[in-house]
């Protein structure tokens, strides 16, 4: 347990605002340090009463579990869990790959977990399925930090992308700026009737707000008749389905702003199979700048969310936590770059 005690001590050994240790909690609660440890690690076979006594003692002495120290105590090995919702979306496969490489540059080994639903995401963040790791980096799909309900994860957690989290370190993608910029690009090119092809889930996202705000700058109200979604999200089929539906309504439009590249690829196919020329009749844009966008016919205008910067910020924050930084949760905003290609008429 000695690793805890060194934490509040300066290089010359003098005590500087000595941080409460596990031993302090044990004394206060009148139990062994081992029991405190069992409670902190949420191990079984501790009575409810003892748990309550220990937590109360921890609160009264101001003890917070030391993540890095805990790793040493339990013999962990610098292994970080990278958590993504799936790999079929190129964005998540790319982020997973970049995170793994960047963490390894820091001398950390990694383990990749696919958390296919919100429960799996929550379990990975809390630590129940990532006990073999010292920290977690999650690219969430459905997870919201609010779902933690005040519970502290076992290990340092950094969230990359997704809605801003106030209780976790997070990297916030330049969704608003990127979506606004690509919308302005279409308006600047003279497009006026912009269809919005979205993934029904996330009209509250910064990405959607970016489109709406850029339209508002030019005094354009979003036309509900130009908004279309597919029956699920983030698949090429969804974009295809949404565009077929829109074409059947007979509404006129000269551009399609799509929630992401996968949706845009489906949209382009639907337009071409209905005799619409891209970009002459309809300009199309995506988001994510996947490999597929560059080699689509015609190549797809998209937004690069600057994955290098997102990954660098996430790894930096995680490493700081592992090194003992114990301050409040931080948020790093990253930028976005519009990649103009032929699908938008350039």
């Amino acid at each position: 347990m000695s690793t805890d005690a060194t934490n509040g001590t300066s290089a010359n050994g003098a005590s500087v605002n000595r941080r409460p240790t596990l031993a302090d909690v044990a004394r206060m609660a009148g139990v062994s340090a081992k029991t405190v440890s069992n409670v902190m690690l949420d191990r079984p076979n501790v009575s409810v009463r003892t748990r309550a006594t220990v937590w109360a003692a921890a609160e009264s002495v101001g003890y917070r579990p030391n993540h890095a120290g805990r790793g040493l105590v339990s013999g962990r090995t610098g292994r970080i869990a990278v958590v993504v919702p799936n790999l079929f979306q190129p964005y998540f496969a790319e982020m997973a790959e970049r995170l793994i490489l960047a963490l390894e540059d820091e001398g950390l080994t990694t383990t990749l977990r696919i958390a296919g639903d919100v429960h799996a995401e929550l379990a990975a963040v809390i630590g129940s399925t990532t006990r073999d790791a010292d920290g977690v980096v999650i690219c969430p799909a459905h997870f919201r930090a609010a779902a933690l309900g005040g519970r502290a994860p076992d290990n340092p957690v950094v969230q990359v992308g997704g809605p801003p989290a106030t209780s976790l370190d997070c990297v916030i993608m330049g969704e608003h700026a990127g979506a606004a910029a690509i919308t302005r690009h279409l308006l600047d090119a003279g497009r006026r009737r912009l269809a919005i092809i979205w993934n029904g889930l996330s009209t509250e996202s910064g990405r959607y707000a970016g489109v709406v705000d850029a339209l508002a700058e030019r005094g354009i109200e979003p036309d509900p008749a130009l908004f279309a979604v597919g029956s699920d999200w983030d698949r090429r089929e969804s974009g295809y389905e949404a565009m077929i539906g829109l074409l059947r309504t007979g509404v006129e439009f000269d551009a399609a702003v799509c929630a992401n590249d996968a949706t845009a690829i489906g949209v382009m196919r639907a337009l071409r199979s209905h005799g619409r020329r891209i970009p002459e009749d309809v300009a199309v844009t995506g988001f994510d700048n996947t490999d597929e966008s560059e080699f689509a016919s015609p190549p797809l205008t998209s937004v690069s969310p600057e994955p290098e910067a997102m990954v660098a910020a996430a790894v930096r924050m995680l490493v700081e936590r592992l090194d003992g930084y114990d301050g409040p949760a931080r948020a790093v905003h990253t930028g976005a770059e519009v990649m103009i290609r032929r699908s938008s008429g350039s």
């Binding site: 383990t111 696919i114 929550l122 698949r235 090429r236």
Partner: protein, 336 residues
């Protein structure tokens, strides 16, 4: 010690029956109750699968999946199928990308017993380990290509694939194909660029195999490589009438290059991919491709692995060959 259903019920403050109803998604459960039970399940890391219990007794319940990298969409798709199949059996899965670093495969194999109950190895191109270690924990090689490894393996039927592709070329009256990238049917016994299997299949439809060039991709088989290889193919054989691509990424890159050059697909050049990525349904023209059925490969791989874990498998290595299908689309047949 794995959590029990009773612990979940206690933590959530509900009956065992209620936990069971939530897990089985039965109707008429109040959302608050469902949220409480699901939170308890997540906190305790409980796996609601009775067959998992048996498998997990005394084990980590975790399978390692070794893969070269994740930015190749087919590899991502196969990994996802393996993770899904492991989950269905109540096993968790840890993905270990090697990024072609030597030693990485041996590291993972060496972690059998403490981190992993077993390891699934997806052909990590050229990183075949010298030794498979003495560990009793199982290893299953998935799509091992030219590997000679004497362990359990699962492959798609490359002989069937070569036959289907050749017959389709014949039916579409194509006689001057060029290969972009390696021949998927090439095995450890083949020393030529073209496998004996593909030669035989092409010869059977009257294609002169000695005249079939193969373009090397010079590295990763991605879209960029496909575009470059298509350009090279046209230089090597200007009268080519079909491109047989090692995968759909290469095929998509080739398609994009030909579109740029104003070369009509399939009127001038037919394109056949391999892997059946979702992308190929949405290109113009849509892409004819071979579906190696990652879901079936994954099921077979986990069957071999779990049989070994249960101790019910014979001592010697086993091989399962999974049938393939040819997905015929516009890049060879044109618009309907």
């Amino acid at each position: 010690m794995p959590a029990t259903m009773k612990e979940v019920a206690t933590r959530a403050g509900v009956s065992l029956k209620t936990v069971s109803r939530v897990v089985n998604r039965e109707p008429h459960i109040r959302p608050e109750t469902m949220a409480r039970v699901e939170a308890a399940i997540a906190e305790l890391g409980w796996t609601p699968n009775p067959s998992a219990r048996n498998l997990r007794t005394g084990r980590t319940g975790n399978v390692g999946i070794v893969v070269a990298e994740l930015r190749r969409p087919y590899l991502a798709m196969l990994v996802e199928a393996l993770v899904h199949e492991a989950g269905r059996l109540g096993l968790t899965a840890t993905v270990e990308p090697t990024h072609r670093r030597p030693g990485r495969v041996s590291d993972v194999l060496g972690a059998r017993g403490h981190l992993y109950d077993g390891v699934l190895l997806i052909d990590p191109e050229g990183l075949e380990p010298d030794t498979w270690g003495g560990s009793p924990q199982p290893v299953v090689v998935v799509q091992g290509g030219r590997w000679r490894a004497q362990v359990d393996r699962v492959d798609e039927d490359v002989v069937e694939a070569a036959g289907l592709v050749a017959r389709h070329l014949g039916l579409m009256a194509r006689t001057r194909p060029v290969l972009l990238g390696p021949d998927r049917a090439r095995s450890a016994v083949d020393h030529e660029d073209l496998s004996a299997v593909l030669r035989a299949a092409l010869a059977a439809v009257g294609i002169e195999t000695a005249a079939v060039p193969r373009i090397s991709l010079g590295g990763v088989g991605d879209r960029r490589a496909g575009a470059r290889a298509a350009e090279a193919a046209l230089r090597v054989r200007p009268d080519l009438d079909a491109l047989l691509c090692v995968n759909d990424e290469v095929a998509t890159g080739a398609l994009s290059y030909l579109a740029d050059q104003g070369i009509a697909v399939p009127d001038d050049v037919a394109i056949i991919g391999y892997d059946n990525l979702a992308d190929g349904q949405f290109t113009t023209p849509t892409l004819t491709t071979v579906d190696p059925s990652p879901a079936r490969l994954a099921r077979a791989a986990l069957e071999l692995l779990t049989e070994r874990l249960r101790g019910g498998a014979p001592a010697g290595p086993r091989q399962i060959t999974v049938p393939v299908t040819l997905v015929r689309r516009e890049s060879t047949m044109g618009m309907p």
